[in-house]
């Protein structure tokens, strides 16, 4: 075959293809660039259940916002990674989100350890970062770019004590998980009961995260016969505590925290969950449309009932979107200023009154009681002395 002909043919083909690409590229309607929001949560490993719940919550929020036309006329896009609940992973992800994906802002759907690690990077790089439900006080401390929509330990602990007061309990046992979440709640509940209510804490003992057998602790508690048992825990430990307490014949009411706020708690504990009272920020009986839409859409999307973690991640996206809208720009400093000036934002987990100086949400709490296998409204907790995060 003639070589020259072949070369000519190849050149023609290249020109045709190149022309086609150029034509397609030039006539393509200008795409609306989405606003990129970073997100990380534990999608594998022991914390994956909560991580996936948070991811679904955040994705649902993005869906809802985009359905209403997005933010500043542009859709949101969630860029998410698995941090496996590992702080080192979180640090790597933070760098990746900031430098490779160039996100406008980011949200943590993760626990305290990874969130704390990543918060330093985001703050250093000047990218707004919102923690959905991680409770550690250091996450937001002295970090102007870091915010939190979830509860913090101090108000929640006080609220647990407040609920004990509602039950007229004066002799109280506290059994807590030995992690900062549990310790902070236990300390503040203890202080509230002793200082504000004038009650007595007759038992104060800790256990390790992941414990499944509480019979030893509960046997001792039973012998002391308290009026109520305060047990800050996550849902898995909580389910064991309430069922083993029932099996040991303990009748004192058990007061829990937001860690109980999961359909999994009800499923695992079964009948034993009846009568448990918890402090949380998700009021499933709330007549507000936002709450009811979230609950039903979440269930449609995932097939399971929503929990506090999913709701908090939803709220984090919601609040971020509100702030961007209010700022009217994607400049990080404008967004941070907007966040600082937000007031009375309707969220699924109650109304965000404002962010404190340290970036923590001031919002009401609610006590819920388990009746017939469901959480129901028990009491509102709006006392500013309780709900205001300390600075």
């Amino acid at each position: 075959m003639d070589k020259k002909l072949a070369v000519a043919a190849i050149i023609v083909i290249i020109i045709i293809i190149g022309g086609a690409i150029a034509w397609w590229y030039l006539t393509k309607p200008p795409a609306v660039q989405p606003i990129k929001i970073g997100f990380h949560a534990p999608l594998t490993g022991f914390a994956a259940a909560d991580g996936l719940s948070a991811l679904h919550g955040a994705q649902l929020a993005v869906q809802h916002i985009n359905a209403k036309g997005g933010v500043l006329g542009r859709p949101l896009k969630l860029i998410y990674y698995d941090d496996a609940c590992d702080p080192d992973e979180a640090i790597a992800i933070a760098h990746k989100l900031i430098e490779e994906d160039r996100v406008v802002a980011a949200i943590s759907g993760s626990y305290s350890h990874p969130t704390l690690a990543a918060s330093a990077i985001f703050n250093e790089s000047g990218i707004p970062y919102i923690s959905a439900y991680a409770v550690h006080p250091e996450i937001t401390r002295d970090k102007p770019y870091v915010f939190r929509v979830g509860l913090t330990g101090v108000p929640e602990g006080k609220a647990m004590g407040y609920v004990a007061g509602l039950l007229n309990a004066t002799r109280v046992a506290i059994l807590y998980m030995d992690i900062p979440f549990g310790t902070t709640l236990a300390e503040n509940a203890k202080a509230y009961i002793e200082d504000v209510l004038g009650g007595e804490v007759i038992y104060y003992e800790k256990y390790e995260l992941g414990e499944t057998d509480f019979s030893t602790w509960l046997t001792e508690i039973k012998a002391l016969n308290p009026d109520a048992i305060l047990a800050p825990a996550y849902y898995s430990e909580a389910a064991h505590i309430v069922s083993q307490a029932k099996e040991l014949g303990i009748t004192a009411p058990i007061i829990g925290c937001e860690g109980y706020d999961s359909p999994k708690f009800l499923e695992l504990a079964g009948d034993a969950a009846e009568g448990t009272i918890i402090v949380t920020d998700l009021d499933r009986d709330s007549p507000r449309e936002l709450v009811q839409t979230f609950l039903s859409d979440y269930k449609n999307m995932t097939g399971i009932e929503a929990d506090m973690v999913g709701a908090s991640a939803y709220d984090a996206v919601l609040v971020l979107a509100k702030a961007i809208e209010a700022a009217g720009s994607l400049d990080p400093d404008d967004i941070v200023n907007a966040l600082k000036n937000l007031e009375n934002v309707e969220m699924v987990t109650g109304t965000l009154y404002y962010f404190t100086e340290q970036g923590n949400a001031c919002k009401p709490m609610v006590a819920q009681i388990v009746r017939e296998g469901e959480f129901h409204h028990y009491a509102d907790i709006t006392d500013p002395d309780i709900i205001t995060p300390p600075e």
Binding site: L43, T44, G45, Y81, D82, P87, D88, I91, A92, H95, K96, E99, E100, S112, H113, L116, A117, A120, H136, E138, D178, I179, P180
Partner: protein, 296 residues
Amino acid sequence: MQIGMYYITLLIWILIYAIAVMGLNITMGYAGQVNLGQAAFIGIGAFTSAILTMKFGISFWIALPLSGLISFIAGMLLGAISIRLKYDFLAMTTIGFNFIMVAIFLYYPIFGGSFGLLGVPRPRIFGYKLTGVTYLALVFVIFLICLLVNIWIERSWLGLAFEAIREDEDAAQTLGIDVKKFKVLAFAIGAGMAGIAGSLYAHFSMRVAYSDFTFAKSIELLSMCILGGLGTVYGPIIGTALVIILPEIFRPLRQYRLIMHTLILIILLRFQPQGLLGKGSYLETKIKKWIGGFQK
């Protein structure tokens, strides 16, 4: 084009872990003493360095060798405890050591409880703070020093004594090798390197917590070491790089990362238990042939 902090971070992690894995290779690869608790020694080094710099205001440049030294002593202790123990009892004791150290880190307030110590300072040199590329340079220099130590050990009587003990303790004793002393040394040197790695770890991530040094981390270190090939100089380094880089490449498939990671480990150990570069492995044979071809 500027190399992103992301890649620098990745490189720094690889080098830091490679130092600890090299240490593990000395204990396990050369001296044949199973150590399933190497992460605990990284922890000891990391906490030593963090406490010295944060609570006593000691300079990083002094804290770094001290961390190595404290880990070295801890390694001697573990070695001394383990001297009488036979194979599986030794393995179990090192697992136990890891669990116990993690519990101590968690329960003694000086280690900062479950959140550990936050705000470990970055090292400074003539007032210049080492971050990013400069920290990478620091880690690289220390990595090189450890590599040289490793190569030197392999060529010294020390390394020969280690290998003799690995192959047959009784025979080693009859040839004048004080097996107890060298076993303790093998643990101590391995632990010392882990301690150095721990110090670099603490000052890079600027935080230390018990949860970074669990038994699972020890298994990860072990798989790095074995993947590359126990008892070789370069195997552990390659293994470390692979174990850290592969999950990054597969990041979109994160859901299945652990499944792939364990599957690779199982398949490799089943068919190439000597690791990728170990004596008699497929790759080693090929490379030897290739080099041999050149020499001809």
